[in-house]
Amino acid sequence: MDNPKDRGILRGMKNTSDILIVGGGLNGPALALALAQTGHTVTLIDALPRDARAREDFDGRSYALALASQKLIDQIGVWGAVAGQAQPMLEIKVTDGRAGQGPSPFFMHFDHAEIEEGPMGYMIEDRYLRRALRDAMEAEPAITLVDEQTVIAQDADATGVTVTLARGDSLRGRLLVGADGRRSGTAERAGIKRTGWDYGQTALVCAIEHDRPHNGIAHQFFMPPGPLAILPLPGNRSSIVWSERSDRAAAIQSLDEESYLSILRPRFGDFMGDIRLAGDRFTYPLNLTLANAFVAERLALVGDAAHGVHPIAGQGLNAGLRDVGALAEVLTEARRRGEDIASSLVLDRYQQWRRFDTASLAAATDAFNRLFSNDNPLLRLGRDIGMGVVGAIPGLRQTFIREAAGLTGDLPRLLQGRPI
């Protein structure tokens, strides 16, 4: 793209795009769209083939989009395509329970009617969100898609960054963004080390059908083996996220469908009638991994590449979209000032904005999980009382609701539902 207006700008090796993004999951495409809208050109490199991102059938995976995340999805022009398939979360009930026993008398109940902004969030199936992001990228002329290619080398210099693909050719841009997950090769090649630990727990994830309606209520039960979340999907279906010690989880996953359900049923209780599987089953080992830096020379990390948190509160994607909103805002402001968007001055603004938030999220989710995965009767009594107290004080409860909806903290504009 040779722009005759760029009179003061010399080009050496021609840039493929302003920004190169590695990773075609959810954060990468969301960032590509946000940046394309503010005048940047973007090339997105995805290791998977196109079809893997656009499959039609339901595989059982879904996301709890906080309200702030939904606003970002709306701002990047994708919400209209998925709104019809999204289930609003109207209430969240948090209960401390033990398998085989009823829930404790203390529980927290969050109702969206207590805050002004609307539902606390939406449940959306992976297939719809992925597909809509893909379609939007294909319709955006400023985005170039490179499918089914891995990056084998990257090299930053004074004016840009060159990325070498496995197929042999090179791409060049001013900035490289790693959106390639918790084992980010982009971060590794830049020499960014990671800190983290394994919880020895694994999340079992599936979708179920149930006889009775869920009424838009999300449930979180805290049980000694780990938390169980029941998240409402459209129709009489829910997404289940269920944590177990890793050895037990592996054994459960290997069971046939009926045996799997027979383990799930008693935890689930019978408040929704009989349950059946409504998609594939997945397991995700629970570990926490934080990149020691979110930026390096001409490089920024977003999503799990920067911070893979315990998915206990469904905050992984929501934290990733906060990165997307913050990075798009920092880069766009820099571009409008004429700054080099990949200079350390600019990238440090993004890192400062996101690191504090991320470290506190990681610490909070970790502490939360340790507290609630414990069967010590004293701790149990303590947390029951704690939940009763939070539940009884309206102001505190509203704070929790706003936190769950992602409406607290120093929010990037896209997550406030405003353009950059």
Partner: protein
């Protein structure tokens, strides 16, 4: 388009590269300028966009504008202006800054016409610009009125000048000289002479006498908690910036 011919003696290049690295090191000697820069650029870009009806979201919004950066130093303002599409001349009275700025612009892939000269000499030669950036210079010159008159002559009719400086009051003394020079050692001691500082009203008066029409003024306010600068409509007590136009 070719980069302007570099006139740097090859044996000196390593030294100038080191100086360029120093100018552009956000944590180094010029840290205060780097911290102030986003705020300065916000003001400059918005004023230019407003005056010449340009959309900052578009590609190369300043294309077609000829811009002079007086006291360009290492090019901290010249480079962003070139990146936004302006045709930039960077002038500095310190000869040593010119090769430093040239080398960095080449590294950045930008074409900027850096010259070892003064505003007065450029005016004498009849050079004309749409925009003149006159940032943190007027407090260093011997005769502000004759200097500002030269900067006015450099503008085409309807042109825009952005001029920033430091207010004169006990607070600005404490912040600029005692704070920045003595305590923080951000700037070499003796960089500023307090008696040369100019109040906003005095500057407006000088700009008018020089033949310009002052149209706007704002403060640059340092927030010690967030360690960053922001623009203020009311607080012009230390660093401040003005915009003036040359009658068409």
């Amino acid at each position: 388009m070719q980069a302007p011919q570099s006139t740097v003696d090859p044996s000196e290049i390593a030294k100038f590269e080191a100086m360029a690295a120093e100018w552009w090191d956000p944590t180094g000697k010029f840290k205060p300028l780097h911290m102030l820069n986003p705020c300065r650029l916000d003001y400059i870009t918005q004023q230019i966009a407003g005056e010449f009806d340009r959309d900052l979201s578009s590609d190369a919004p300043f294309a077609g504008l000829r811009l002079l950066d007086i006291g360009c130093g290492g090019g901290l303002l010249s480079e962003p202006m070139a990146r936004l599409g302006a045709d930039v001349v960077g002038a500095d009275a310190a000869a040593g800054n010119i090769p430093v700025a040239q080398i960095h612009a080449e590294q950045s892939g930008l074409s900027i016409d850096y010259r070892h000269t003064t505003a007065e000499a450029l005016a004498e030669a009849g050079e004309q610009f749409d925009v003149v950036l006159n940032m943190e210079v007027v407090e260093h010159v011997a005769d502000p009125l004759s200097y500002l008159t030269a900067t006015q002559q450099l503008l085409k009719p309807g042109g825009l000048q952005i001029c920033s400086t430091i207010n004169r009051n006990p607070k600005s003394y404490a912040m600029a000289i005692f704070g920045a020079e003595v305590v923080m050692r951000w700037l070499p001691r003796g960089t500023h002479e307090w008696s040369k500082f100019i109040t906003p009203d005095e500057l407006f008066d000088l700009l008018s006498k020089a033949g310009l029409t002052p149209v706007d003024r704002k403060g640059f306010v340092f927030n010690p908690i967030f360690w960053s600068w922001s623009l203020s409509d009311r607080d012009l007590s230390v660093n401040y910036v003005t915009a003036s136009t040359k009658p068409a």
